[in-house]
């Protein structure tokens, strides 16, 4: 029943000089309080310009999402918000980005589209990461029949066509269609890839020296997994999650297009992008603005993910 296993010689492995505490002793600052991993990370983050840029961007994006009315005086949900006679008109005073095909103000829609889009992107990513990391980490770390079971369940979830799942779930929840149902569909069926990636990373790490050391020191398996393995496996998970955040926002557009997404009264970037597609040959800017808003959001999260990963990475920190 042994699945992935260690090589017998690994128990006799001697660490590089580099890796031994001896080398660091000279540099120890006796007055500093012992730092936790997170404190270390924070200290590191504070010094990074990139961190501050992405933090400002994220705060800005969240502000737009939370109080859109601060950023535009036009209410795109008003009964007379759209006027067909302005269809596809270019920018003019008070309407910086021009008008959509339906004659609505593009800028106001981009501003008001932030909340649903970002809610979908962020919450779905959180769900996907929570489920995926839990399943993948446990499968990879414990191995054996437990891995087989979890991995095969992952396979089954992989196999369910996303469109089928979406149609079944969204149609049965027809009356309650909204941001929450979209998140559920994307989240419940989106985690298998995260699980696979986490499992792969954990498999490689669980035979590392620091794990052997941690186990030897009597740390429980669960704590070892949480304290030592996961932070080291974080890189691919963070990368996947930050890219996925953007693709979930776009996926919402797909659901809308299929008739199972957000209702038309909910303004979202995804829906606006897909509606602008038909006029892209003549009026590409209508598509450009919501896509740019989406890209900036994704960019800010990718940059943040990057610096956080660097900060968490003990190897990178050593320098």
């Amino acid at each position: 029943m042994r699945e992935p296993t260690t090589r017998p010689d690994q128990h006799h492995f001697f660490a590089d000089l580099d890796e031994t505490p001896l080398l660091g002793v000279d540099a120890v600052d006796e007055h500093a309080a012992p730092a936790s991993m997170w404190q270390d990370a924070w200290r590191n983050l504070r010094r990074r310009v990139l961190f501050w840029i992405s933090a400002v961007l994220i705060v800005l994006v969240l502000a737009v999402a939370i109080v859109p009315s601060l950023f535009t005086s036009i209410d795109p949900n008003a009964n007379d918000a759209c006027d067909l006679s302005h269809s596809l008109e270019g920018p003019s005073a008070g309407h910086l980005m021009g008008y959509t095909f339906q004659g609505c103000d593009v800028y106001a829609r981009v501003v008001y589209g932030a909340r649903p889009s970002i809610t979908v992107g962020v919450l779905t990513t959180i769900i996907v990461v929570l489920i995926g990391v839990a399943v993948g980490a446990l499968a990879g770390f414990y191995g054996g029949w437990f891995d087989s079971l979890l991995s095969r369940v992952t396979d089954i979830f992989f196999a369910i066509p996303f469109v089928l799942a979406a149609i079944v779930v969204m149609s049965s929840l027809k009356a309650h269609r909204g941001v929450i149902t979209v998140i559920i569909v994307l989240g419940v069926f989106g985690w298998p890839q995260v699980a696979r990636i986490t499992r792969g990373a954990v498999l490689g790490l669980k035979n590392s020296d620091f794990v052997t050391a941690s186990t030897a020191l009597g740390t429980t398996r669960m704590t070892t997994l949480r304290r030592h393995i996961l932070p080291n496996a974080a890189a691919p998970i963070i990368v996947y999650a930050t890219v996925a955040l953007g693709t979930f926002i776009v996926a919402e557009a797909t659901l809308s297009f299929l008739g199972i997404g957000l209702p038309p009264s909910v303004i979202s970037w995804g829906a606006d992008i897909s509606q602008a597609q038909r006029n892209i040959r003549t009026d590409p800017m209508v598509l450009f603005w919501p896509a740019a808003a989406l890209a900036i959001t994704v960019l800010s999260f990718i940059m943040m993910g990057d610096v956080v990963r660097d900060a968490l990475d003990p190897k990178a920190r050593k320098r």
């Binding site: 260690t6 079944v168 896509a291 050593k318």
Partner: protein, 308 residues
């Protein structure tokens, strides 16, 4: 090793049963009355409706329908579509095309994603890295249908460099553009995953050791950095093969490809259980083999991982 592979293959049986049962149940739950829909907007009489329902066994309870289907499978009878075609024939038409398309997309995202990701990782923070970041943002923020539509118009219609659609002419040349469009989002994932892993591993002790002991940079990158960076990437690629095959609905529509995605989608919308389940069963098998191959590759890439 052989024992491990054998066990993995045996595990296909419960996965097969679990997946088909679940998917059949979901098709059963697709709302609406597919028979009524056959009449379009024009309605049909109750008697005709009942007659057709009976003809397609839609009045049987779910489990009976499922067992009926399983029984057919044992004799390689996959059932028929509403247009009277054998589902086995339909699958023989669509799978080769889609498989070719998916493999081409996988090669595209693998070669370019890993290649560019490696360079970006080695030059973290430099111009090339930033350019690639922007490139991946573009493919993330622009949905496949927009990208496909624009490429088709510019490359296919305006410049006439490649055929705008595939149709009856399935070849590497016609599938090239669809494959790039299909693989574009995954390209962004592969690029970011490779780039980050490479950047991370560059600062690993064994790399510094290798450099310190005088190994050529090319060899350090190839043997130590890339090899150790590939685990998340091949995990992604392995699982992506199946996703590319099932998820090509949009791309197939834009480029007029008679493939798995479109067939599956159409079958889902019309509640054609046998078609949906048969196609997804093949997809499950693809997933399982691809994931098995990935697990075996782990052991090659990282000697610490072994299977007994």
């Amino acid at each position: 090793m052989a024992w491990y592979i054998g066990r993995r293959l045996l595990q296909m049986i419960p996965v097969f049963i679990g997946a088909t049962l679940l998917i059949y149940a979901m098709v059963f739950l697709v709302p609406g009355d597919p028979i009524l829909a056959l009449a379009g907007d024009k309605g049909m009489s109750d008697a005709l409706h009942d007659q057709l329902v009976a003809q397609y066994h839609l009045d049987d309870p779910f489990l009976v329908q499922y067992l009926h289907y399983l029984q057919g499978i044992l004799t390689l009878d996959f059932g028929t579509t509403y247009s009277g075609r054998d589902v086995g024939d339909v699958m023989r038409d669509v799978f080769p095309v889609t498989f070719q398309l998916a493999v081409m997309a996988l090669i595209f995202e693998g070669v370019f994603g890993i290649g560019f990701g490696l360079i970006a990782g080695l030059r973290k923070g430099k111009i090339f890295d930033s350019t690639m970041l922007v490139a991946s943002l573009v493919v993330i923020a622009i949905p496949t249908f927009v990208l496909g539509f624009v490429l088709q118009y510019v490359v296919g219609v305006k410049w006439g460099l490649l055929p705008p659609t595939v149709g009856s002419d399935v070849s590497v040349k016609t599938l090239l553009m669809p494959a790039i469009v299909l693989g574009s989002v995954s390209f962004a994932y592969v690029l970011r995953l490779t780039r980050t892993s490479v950047a991370e591993n560059l600062s690993a002790d064994y790399v510094r050791t290798a450099t310190a002991k005088g190994l050529a940079r090319g060899r350090v990158v190839r043997v130590h950095v890339l090899r150790n960076s590939l685990i998340p990437v091949i995990t992604f690629l392995g699982a992506d093969l199946g996703a590319l095959m099932a998820g090509a609905i949009v791309t197939e529509g834009i480029f007029n490809i008679n493939g798995v995605g479109g067939t599956l989608y159409h079958a889902i919308l019309t509640s054609q259980g046998p078609t949906v389940v048969s196609i997804t069963t093949i997809l499950v098998i693809v997933y399982i083999f691809a994931n098995l191959a990935v697990d075996l590759l782990y052991a090659v890439l990282d000697p610490r991982i072994r299977y007994a």
